[in-house]
Subunit: 346 residues, 2 copies
């Protein structure tokens, strides 16, 4: 017979029998209640090992009428990437509804660490089981996250990393993303040599900095004939953006590539397009949005370095759920890949 029979999972009843105790005692051990002799605890633990017992989460949640209420604390910008995120949160809520997961989005002012901290402090364990926080790293936010966890609320840095929780966050390695942008741009430029314009909304954010670092490393190491110019910072000001981009093109007529570091690529790319520059100049931007996809299709953009918004959201939910259930989530599916999007695979 080629097919193995399905192994019936042992229940707490089986455990009790194997350990020679009652179900009540097994229950006390499993749920860490006190009043059990160490010797008895050991016997039960041994039985758990021997039988390979894993408790039935569904049944447990049913009994507890446990439900998972997660909050995504996101910046309030009108950014298209953020819109995608919100869209995928709605979609994920449907997918996870059968696991009793519900999600809410709460917009925070990413420039006001105090208000973020205040908001996080208002959350109660009764209302919220976990929070995914997309916010720049500040001491206030860091402390608020620590307080959340003390109150028994799961917390997870989301997309924007927080140094203190190195392994425990959801997002891509921005340094590698920058390097990928550089490699793609460098290869697409080919043997031509010249300057590369680097545009960012601001170099204050950790994400932009890391991307830039990775970008420079790769260019310097593998494309010595290319020269990455200092970052042009738009500060979200369209007039300023237009001025500095035009000025840069003027003073660097050998520009062969443009790299938009920032999430919001709309402004810089629209400006670049209006300037009607040489179509041979290679243009790379980040994040898949309706705008960037359209730009790619009409060849106004040569490549997009992206992180899958849906995957980010679902991974965050799974990891928050994992924290609540005190399970460890499995690595390979939570690893967010750096996607390269071209015309043919968007």
């Amino acid at each position: 017979m080629p097919i193995q029979k399905f192994m019936i999972r042992p229940t707490t009843k089986d455990l009790a029998k194997a350990a020679g105790v009652s179900r009540a005692t097994v229950d006390r051990v499993l749920n860490g209640r006190e009043g059990v002799k160490q010797k008895t605890v050991d016997r039960v633990q041994q039985a758990i090992k021997d039988l390979g017992f894993v408790r039935n989460l569904q049944a447990a949640n049913l009994a507890k009428s446990q439900s998972y209420r997660f909050v995504f604390a996101l910046p309030q910008s009108g950014d298209q990437f953020l819109e995608q995120i919100v869209h995928h949160i709605d979609e994920a809520e449907k997918i996870f509804s059968s696991d009793n997961v519900s999600c809410d989005v709460h917009h925070i002012d990413e420039n006001d660490p105090h208000s973020i901290s205040d908001f996080l402090d208002t959350l109660e364990q009764n209302d919220v089981t976990g929070v995914a926080i997309m916010s720049p790293e500040t001491p206030q936010v860091r402390d608020a996250i620590a307080r959340l966890q003390d109150r028994g609320i799961a917390a997870l840095p989301f997309i924007s990393n927080q140094t203190m929780m190195d392994a425990d966050w959801v997002g891509i390695d921005n340094r590698a993303a920058g390097a990928t942008a550089a490699l793609l741009l460098g290869q697409f430029v080919g043997q031509r040599s010249g300057s590369i314009m680097v545009i960012s909304e601001s170099m204050q954010s950790r994400d932009s900095l890391e991307r830039r670092l990775g970008f420079d490393d790769e260019i310097n190491l593998n494309f010595p004939h290319l020269r990455a110019l200092p970052s042009l910072e738009t500060y979200g000001n369209d007039v300023r953006a237009e001025e500095i981009i035009a000025a840069s093109l003027n003073s660097n007529p050998d520009t062969v590539g443009i790299y938009v570091v920032t999430t919001e690529a709309r402004t810089p790319l629209t400006i670049v397009e209006a300037l009607e520059i040489d179509p041979m100049i290679i243009k790379i931007a980040h994040e898949r949005t309706p705008f960037t996809v359209n730009a790619l299709r009409k060849k106004a953009l040569n490549g997009i370095i992206a992180q899958d918004a849906g995957h980010l959201v679902r991974s965050a939910i799974r990891r928050l759920k994992g924290k609540v259930d005190k399970r460890q989530t499995l690595g390979s599916q939570e690893n967010i890949r750096i996607d390269i999007l071209l015309r043919t695979n968007v």
Copy 2:
């Protein structure tokens, strides 16, 4: 208050009250048992709509002690890609164990449609709830799949497509994958013009054919200075492979790129490497395996077009489960992306 209260999901009890019937009748309607007047059915359905009732799958599975036993029917080749798939099946089994999912792998002879069909015919609903089938398209297999479904066993074409189930399969659009390979190769080659060698184990398989079609379309349309040579078919024979590759390089000294269509890139790439050809020749292959990743790292390969093996497996499981539960799985997470892997984002 920024956070919405969690909506308590209505139960069958609520349904019964709302429809003015007993829980038994609600149950009869929900599970499609007969002996209920149409008028009553309608009233219950209306109540389902009104309350937005969705049955609690966990509780239902608990009551039925339902478990999902899936079989992956895979070719028996020693292919590294297939090894990855098997590895991810093991991993996925852990991830899905809390959903009562167990998976088995069964190797089939992909060249013997009869034995495949025989194997599928032996499966009983009691032993197996669903099958993911990776096999070339033949009438025998198609019919066996139809018989499976008649017997109430979910079936899903896996990676290898079957025309008859257009939308209902797990895998990538191979035509787009071929086009992506072409676009990447074309862009990497740059302004140089010349020939492109195309290597495949065999052009019999639908996958290879579709990739080749997509590849040619893209090259012809957007890279007129490049010429894709006729496919070199190795038939899995290493000696032959070496001969035809060397011969091709000899007669096409203007070769600027090499595209390995087949899943198993090891043989052709090893041969190419041994020939010590011009390192400027761009080399693109398919699928992420230890070999291709290593080749990418040491720059023996410029890019990989891949489909995420873990994602393929998990998607197959989710979709099989969806069929069994008679739910529709949500699109965006089941869409298998065409990954582009470079040195920096493997």
